[in-house]
């Protein structure tokens, strides 16, 4: 119980910092927005990977669905998507006023969340029967295949990408997306924290510990697994919609379906913080985002090499993560205290 309360305290401190941050660090808004989205990525990955034991490299498909669905809906409310992308989104003929822009966003984000969840149900019922490494590599293939297919589809701009609709210049987009992603991160954290305390949370932990036994105890394991993946996809869909708008330009493999960057990073963030804990992914995302920005600033040109080395080092030497390390230390202290 005390750990739950400590988790909440840490998180509320963070959330309070998040609300105040735009006034304290106005120059780092983009990085901070990305941080909140990364927290959502890591938390939702951990729900399926850490808590349920299904390590997915393919959660980027839900981000990608969110990215494209939101952008397409934003455009489709006013213009023809094919024409818009054929004109590369630019020019003077495709303008959005403030109200139109907000309407597009307000419709696009929920719709992409629902689309992502539906896709998770569809794909999940086919692939979630696989175990362990087969699931991991199958989802890796799914993520990259999705990127390749999007890169060949002319209607959404194919390989040359799609530009996200731009609001009028005076519109405070930076702040809007900052608070949207902060809100999303807070809601995701509270929802997943609540979910893990229900019977459903116990069921997905049972699946992680011994799936055959969980099935023998009467759990409909496939149904539970699909539901958990759909919940993760729901939040990823919204996060994807925000992420696409944040990046302003949608490249099919670098922004929408970045299987080899964000797809791996979200796993890394969860492992770095502590797999299978609620606070771990949050801590991991914060450390990771700081390290990443540090590499991008000071190791320019070599940042991706450094990031790859970081992945290897963390996975090989620090697989339990920050939270796991702290728990081990606390346990060791307790045992030492008893012995005395």
């Amino acid at each position: 119980m005390s750990e739950t309360r400590a988790n909440l305290n840490v998180f509320f401190a963070l959330a309070a910092f998040g609300v105040a941050a735009p006034f304290i660090f106005p120059n780092y808004m983009a990085q901070m927005t990305e941080l909140w989205l990364f927290i959502v990525f890591a938390l939702t990955w951990d729900l399926v990977g850490g808590q349920m034991g299904y390590n997915s490299f393919g959660n980027v498909i839900f981000i990608g669905i969110g990215v494209y669905a939101t952008a397409v809906i934003q455009v489709a409310l006013l213009y023809d998507v094919g024409d818009y992308n054929a004109a590369r989104g630019g020019g003077t003929s495709f303008v959005f006023n403030e109200m139109q822009y907000l309407e597009g966003l307000a419709l696009g984000l929920p719709v992409s969340a629902i689309m992502a969840a539906l896709l998770a149900v569809l794909i999940g019922s086919a692939v979630l029967g696989m175990r362990g490494q087969y699931f991991a590599i199958c989802t890796l293939g799914l993520g990259i295949a999705a990127g390749e297919i999007a890169g060949g589809w002319e209607w959404i701009g194919a390989g040359s990408g799609m530009t996200v609709p731009q609001p009028p210049p005076a519109f405070p987009t930076t702040r809007l997306f900052y608070y949207l992603s902060l809100g999303l991160a807070v809601i995701t954290f509270l929802f997943i924290g609540w979910l893990l305390r229900t019977r459903f949370g116990l069921a997905i932990n049972a699946i992680r510990d011994d799936e055959d036994k969980a099935e023998a105890m009467g759990h409909y394991t496939t149904r539970i697994k699909v539901t958990a993946w759909a919940i993760a996809a729901f939040f990823l869909g919204i996060a994807g919609g925000i992420y696409g708008n944040l990046k302003r330009f949608i490249d099919p493999t670098d922004v929408a379906f970045p299987g080899q960057t964000i797809g791996v990073w979200m796993v890394l963030m969860a492992i770095l913080g502590g797999k299978g804990t609620i606070l771990g992914p949050v801590i991991g995302a914060i450390i990771f985002q700081f390290t990443k920005e540090f590499f991008w600033t000071y190791l320019l040109g070599w940042q991706r090499v450094a990031l790859g080395v970081l992945i290897v080092v963390i996975v090989v030497f620090f697989p339990k993560g920050v939270v796991g390390y702290m728990r081990n230390r606390r346990a060791a202290r307790l045992i030492a205290g008893q012995g005395r």
């Binding site: 490494q133 087969y134 199958c138 293939g141 295949a145 060949g152 791996v264 990031l307 290897v312």
Partner: protein, 299 residues
């Protein structure tokens, strides 16, 4: 789908596609054989398989640009990559051999990113080839072209595979590798230094991939990001063929090569990679359904 009509009107094109597919299939077979070796013996899935292919390719490119015949690049790449694989095992891989498979997937994924980016820094992101100076044969009145270097690569791939099988079956080290693969603990009891065996196995895999990469660089093209498709293809072939079934590996590779070429022609070259990755998903889903009917699981 005008390309299908074209194929029906001129079936000779199919000969072209299948012959090209068979020749690249032999190269897939080499990489897949290496993956099956590491998977079977060390129980790790090596995601940087494709990056070893890419590194071997750059050895051949580098030798060709230095004026040496790229055919010499095949043995040189094999030797250099053996050393590289051995060193990689001694520094990193030995720490993850006993962990669960996911850790090995993630760690080798990290290594693959490092290698990709290093090569991108060193050689740039451009497409490179190792010029071999061989010509092209025209058959069926010039309708079907067969590049000689691809034939050489095809033959060399089979020779390499044969040498490898002979080595595993007959030599003392090969026997130790097979013993470790059957039961590592029993092998240790009988006095085999399994750590040493693992190092050699991993180096051997890197050497196979290096030679394979040199062939790719001569007969096809390489760039820093070709790795992942090769890894995925090897994985797919091993999943279809099973561990330790050499005939099936060759059949699956040749089949994959042809299927990929035909799909690339029908759907358009931009969808060829999408086809490979989608095929992986389809193969795994179908296999899973088949096993689920018997209440078994892929483990």
């Amino acid at each position: 789908m005008s390309n299908i009509d074209l194929l029906i009107d001129a079936p000779i094109l199919l000969v072209q596609l299948i012959s090209d597919g068979l020749m690249i299939g032999a190269i897939f077979a080499l990489a897949a054989f290496g993956m099956a070796l590491v998977w079977g013996v060390m129980k790790i899935i090596n995601i940087c398989q494709g990056e070893f292919v890419m590194l071997g390719g750059y050895v051949a490119v580098w030798m060709a640009s230095a004026g040496v015949s790229p055919f010499l690049g095949v043995p040189v790449a094999a030797v250099l990559m053996f050393i590289f694989g051995w060193l990689l095992y001694q520094t990193i891989i030995y720490r993850i051999v006993d962990h669960d498979l996911f850790i090995s997937i993630l760690a080798t994924f990290g290594i693959s990113i490092v290698l990709q980016q290093l090569m991108n820094e060193a050689f740039g992101a451009d497409v490179r080839i190792a010029e071999s100076g061989l010509g092209t044969w025209f058959i069926f009145g010039g309708l079907v072209t067969i590049s000689q270097v691809k034939v050489v690569a095809f033959v060399l791939a089979f020779i390499l595979g044969g040498v490898l099988v002979y080595f595993l079956k007959k030599s003392r080290v090969g026997q130790a590798i097979r013993a470790t693969s059957q039961d590592a603990r029993a092998a240790r009891v009988l006095g085999i230094n399994t750590n040493h065996v693992y190092a050699i196995t991993y180096g051997l895999n890197a050497a196979i991939c290096g030679a394979c990469g040199a062939l790719v660089a001569m007969a096809y093209t390489i760039h820093p990001y070709i790795g992942l498709p090769y890894t995925i293809r090897s994985f797919m072939i091993v999943v279809v063929a099973g561990l330790g079934n050499l005939g099936a590996v060759i059949l699956a590779s040749l089949g994959l090569g042809s299927a990929e070429n035909i799909a690339g022609f029908i759907l358009g070259a931009e969808y060829q990679l999408a086809f490979v990755f989608s095929l992986l998903v389809i193969v795994l889903v179908l296999r899973n359904w088949r096993l689920a009917r018997k209440r078994q699981y892929l483990k």
